[in-house]
Symmetry: C2
Subunit: 673 residues, 2 copies
């Protein structure tokens, strides 16, 4: 490709874009790792976007009404770092660029939202950024409807490559965006026809233009190196009521010897080739050197939005104090003051009424109390609304004609749902929760992991949480999913035993700020085990003594969720034989692990035999409570699952798999010898 | 909807289809659970397919050259059970129909391949059957190319609903099928416009016809209740060189009061409504009663393929003995006799050469030896071929002009890849293996679980298996994925320490018949730790003493994969101080758990302190070896991860997270007091 024409046609644009390319080449070469080609290919699009369209102020990366810019093709992280550095972002200094991918640098291999304020979302696992973007755009619609366009009126821009579009989650995202006419969502497809293994045709021949149109998108096809075409396309996209996909025909690693090849995707570090590329760009700066005039042009871009922001702040100061407080509270993830009292009142009522309800139903009861006082919650379900029970009466349904609606029918899209929830949380101002069957955690898993990594307090409402599912059988019966969620760092896994613990779990999930929660809830009805009202949130301790030994304490039964009632039944049998038995309810292992040694010792003293009871695999973190914490192998046993389930009525399955009070008693007696 | 016209237009067809509808209503009502509407809606399509097109012999459900019929919308399981019963399948007796969804019945809530011979794949988690079907169709193409169309020449039919098409994995499957022109793959879309939450428009407005065409499919739109249209569409689909999607406009729960509603999706049990529906069908049989003439027509359909099968057996008898043996051996999943010797020779060579290679490279070395003698292996990668190192020179690339190619460029589609691998294994005659980064196990997870549930020995080659990934950072660094895989029942998780253990792991993975394997392999180079050649496959024991204590045994270090070398280094330091230290390499916890008590005790005797070393979370099954098996909490420690990783060079990360010989020594000394 002859660059001369590109250079001479738009010299000022060219120089700015070349700065991205040069910094990318230098940083990747210094790190001797990374991905040069994508930033080099998309530098023109990014330059036009930042220069002419993106509403942002580099000095205030968290300004709520900024446009969002998401790099779904996260491996091209040097694009974002170059842009931020050039625009004068305070965090992304030249030192950070020089330390790309090094220990302690903010310029990690892939863009990480928890390291840099201006990084909207953590990307790298492909397709996620695009699916996050749908959540961002939905959040903007919802808040624009709530606060008016003087306060909320921005676009969500996302850049994705062929990898993002091949990942299945992209279809879920595209379908959602089309369904909801997310007109302020604008996707740039880096159409460079290259993947790691070779040309795209090696693995895909999908006509992306037709594919997007089939789901209700506007598609605009352009030369991704023509600044005027880019500008016009963005202008047209901004006018559309449909989400827009701008197909940008680009050359990966533009101007480098590796241009248009798979090699160009990765780290381009050959010194001579770098030199030749920079010469072709007409680049005069040395390594990591941006000529002052180019830097100052970029800084002007970085401060272009300062006046917009000032005007916005003026407008914000004029809205009612109440609205300001609500807005600020939601963005700060502060729970409303009323929440605690509302939960306490519900707990008191439940402890008195002692209903026998499934914890999914108990969750609905909690949400019915919470949603009216927390307007920032947005709920949903992946086509299991009547099963997950995540919709309360006051929410309204989010739709093209009801942007204030707070409930989303996600369709059969667990993955896209979880990713969009993360997008909403990342956008700010929203606490998203949504449900599916616990077993289908599997589909949502990549985004659930990212919620934990990104420190986003999304709440995953996972009902039908064991063989208690019954007849639907092993495809629908989780046995390893508690283990999966518990093994994931920075994730609270709640498995409440009754309606009281469910309310307490919700309270924690909706007040925590940096940790996602998984609520593991039953299909089947459970008795109320917390029959004595306590003001304190006992679930916040992770585990507590639900019922202490009456006779001399010889046994501690530790159980979660639906198995707590079984533990109580076993205790009654054991006590009737004079065997003193404590029952510990353990709704959240992670929170129990956070307690101090003294409390843990009080709950789990040395001496008694211990039996864990949970309709799931023992690998789900059990051994540390049964054998660790002053326990002993020969004094420990577990009542649970060690295989997949089966299709039969739930009660029969509990018998078949030996998760019963009698089986528990037998194991206790065996341990007592 | 007036059924009279349908009934009178094609009375014979109608009666046969009505038998499916009546049995479905009866079975679901008896179970008081299940899904009536889908079988009732798709009964006409199924009837025409089975009567006029499907090549099968109900008396020989495993006949290798049968057409495959896959119910991706697995909740409609009564469709498949009705068909099998009516056609005279030996397993699906009337008693089984009557015991639908009951304990011990073969007629589980969702169709399960391991319960019924005629069920090709376990479905229920939506989208999986469709994605499996791609693997079935690829397997057929490959084997037709190898054995000729006299031996292999069949179609793959799959029925999917809106739920399947909304799941992201469907896009991956559709893209693959289009890319590879899988003309013998025919999909029926049950286009009933209903999901559980309401009409499809509630969550999706995708034009499925355009979507499929965009990926290179032929699409035929028909009235799904018109037998002639169904017949013509199938005929046209069979002629196409493209995969075909037949969009069948249907009415869910046809003829029932709940027709065309979400309620119709679930269990229809109202006695009066059932009666009215049966009357509308003109159905004269009582509950579970199929009039003899209708049953005999169905049985004729069931035996229609018997002559085809007999002719096929004749043809098969005529091919060379060598081909017959190869075919039969592959279908029986018997490894070739040469495999054992080839692996031993490689091990011997490695133990002598003692290369320092990454285990992903060691895996390539093993495959280079194995693939030439196991023509039934099919390899691939999700666009990371040069990183996963799953392609060996002799394989050839599967493509439209090279159906004999045994390597698949799956594209960036980990989920579709895993599902298609399962499809290949289920089809028979193929041992699939394919790779991605271990962290992206997350994307493939729903299909990896199903491999375990379905007892399919797919091999998932997961490279870049720890913080050893380095600069790519925490999005690409697994820490909880060993825990995830180990918590899943019926899954072998291999984490080999060097090229010898890697070869041994491959040998086990390729000889086991009912268990999928996950190979957790490093990016970074590792020294050879098995420097003394042993004929026996030590990995098959799960764990073994790699290096015993020299001084008096006070310590057992247990390590896997890349951390075994660290354990050896720690041992050297400890021994130099007179602290006798045993190093146990534990490449497969599941296999160690299968060993008898005596062996386990020999490897892990009581007494010494124990430290586990693995660059992953302790929850990954470690406590049972550290504190269980004669261990003790106060004498146990773990060197590993308890958070996500970070972006930096790998060596620095090992230091930062304290996974080093020095850290190990410190923990040992702390335990020794």
């Amino acid at each position: 490709m002859d660059l001369t024409e590109l250079r001479t046609a738009n010299p000022e644009h060219w120089a700015k874009a070349a700065a991205i390319r040069a910094l990318t080449l230098d940083a990747v070469a210094a790190a001797n790792s990374g991905h040069s080609g994508m930033p080099m290919g998309m530098a023109d699009v990014a330059t036009v976007l930042f220069e002419k369209h993106l509403k942002f102020d580099a000095s205030a990366p968290k300004w709520p009404d900024r446009d969002r810019f998401i790099l779904s093709a996260g491996h091209g992280s040097m694009l974002i770092y170059s842009l931020l550095h050039l625009c004068g972002d305070a965090q992304v200094t030249l030192d950070q660029i020089k330390n790309f991918r090094q220990m302690g640098a903010l310029t990690a291999g892939h863009p990480e939202n928890f390291l840099l304020d201006a990084v909207e979302t953590t990307t790298g696992p492909l397709g996620q950024g695009l699916a996050n973007a749908v959540g961002f755009a939905m959040a903007e619609e919802m808040q624009r409807a709530q606060y008016g366009r003087k306060i909320v009126d921005h676009h969500t821009y996302v850049m994705a490559g062929d990898g993002c579009l091949m990942e299945g989650v992209s279809q879920e995202a595209i379908g959602l965006a089309g369904r909801h006419s997310l007109g302020k969502l604008i996707l740039f497809w880096d159409n460079n026809n290259i993947t790691i293994d070779g040309t795209v045709e090696l693995s895909d021949r999908t006509d992306q233009v037709k594919r997007f149109r089939a789901s209700g998108w506007q598609v605009i096809e352009i030369d991704g190196h023509d600044p005027q075409a880019i500008d016009e396309a963005i202008t047209a996209a901004k006018k559309s009521k449909k989400p827009s996909m701008i197909a940008c025909k680009t050359h990966i690693a533009l101007g480098h010897a590796a241009q248009d090849t798979s090699k160009g995707h990765g780290a381009l570090t050959d010194a001579d080739q770098m030199k030749a590329a920079k010469e072709a760009y007409g680049w005069t700066g040395g390594p990591f050197e941006v000529p002052a005039d180019i830097k100052s042009q970029w800084e002007a871009i970085g401060s272009r939005g300062a006046s917009d922001r000032a005007e916005w702040e003026g407008r914000f100061a004029e809205v009612s104090k109440q609205k300001q407080d609500r807005f600020n509270r939601a963005y700060a993830l502060d729970a409303p003051k009323k929440l605690s009292a509302a939960v306490k009142a519900l707990k008191k009522q439940v402890s008195e009424d002692q209903p026998k309800v499934a914890t999914r139903k108990a969750s609905e009861m909690a949400l019915a109390v919470i949603n009216p006082i927390m307007p920032e919650t947005v709920g949903g379900s992946a086509d299991l609304t009547g099963s997950n029970l995540t919709k309360t009466g006051d929410m309204g349904v989010f739709d093209t004609d009801n942007r204030k609606g707070r409930f989303v029918y996600w369709g059969i899209r667990e993955h896209g749902m979880a990713a969009a929830m993360n997008g909403m949380a990342l956008h700010g101002g929203i606490r998203p929760y949504s449900g599916t069957f616990f077993c289908f955690t599997d589909y949502a898993r990549p985004s659930m992991r990212l919620a934990a990594l990104m420190k986003m307090p999304s709440v995953f409402v996972m009902t039908h949480d064991s063989i208690g599912v019954g007849e639907d059988g092993p495809t629908h019966q989780p046995v390893e999913h508690l283990a999966i969620c518990r093994a994931t760092p920075n994730t609270y896994v709640f498995r409440p035993a009754d309606a009281v613990e469910t309310a307490e779990s919700w309270e924690i999930a909706l007040t925590t700020k940096e940790t996602p929660s998984v609520l593991s809830l039953t299909r089947q009805g459970l008795p109320t085990v917390r029959t004595e009202h306590k003001l304190n949130n006992l679930t916040s301790k992770g585990a507590y003594v639900l019922a202490d030994a009456e006779a001399k304490r010889q046994v501690i039964l530790i159980a979660t969720g639906s198995e707590v009632a079984i533990a109580l039944e076993a205790k009654a049998k054991l006590e009737s034989e004079g065997i003193g038995t404590r029952v510990v309810s353990m709704p959240c292992m992670e929170l129990f692990a956070e307690q101090d040694e003294a409390y843990r010792r009080k709950v789990l003293p040395a001496g008694p035999v211990r039996v864990g009871i949970e309709a799931a695999v023992r690998d789900g973190g059990w051994d540390k409570w049964l054998m660790g914490e002053r326990g002993q192998d020969k004094k420990a046993a577990f009542v649970g699952m060690d295989s997949f389930g089966a299709s039969a009525p739930a009660g029969e399955l509990y018998e078949k798999f030996g998760i019963t009070a009698d089986a528990t008693v037998a194991k206790v007696k065996n341990l007592l010898g």
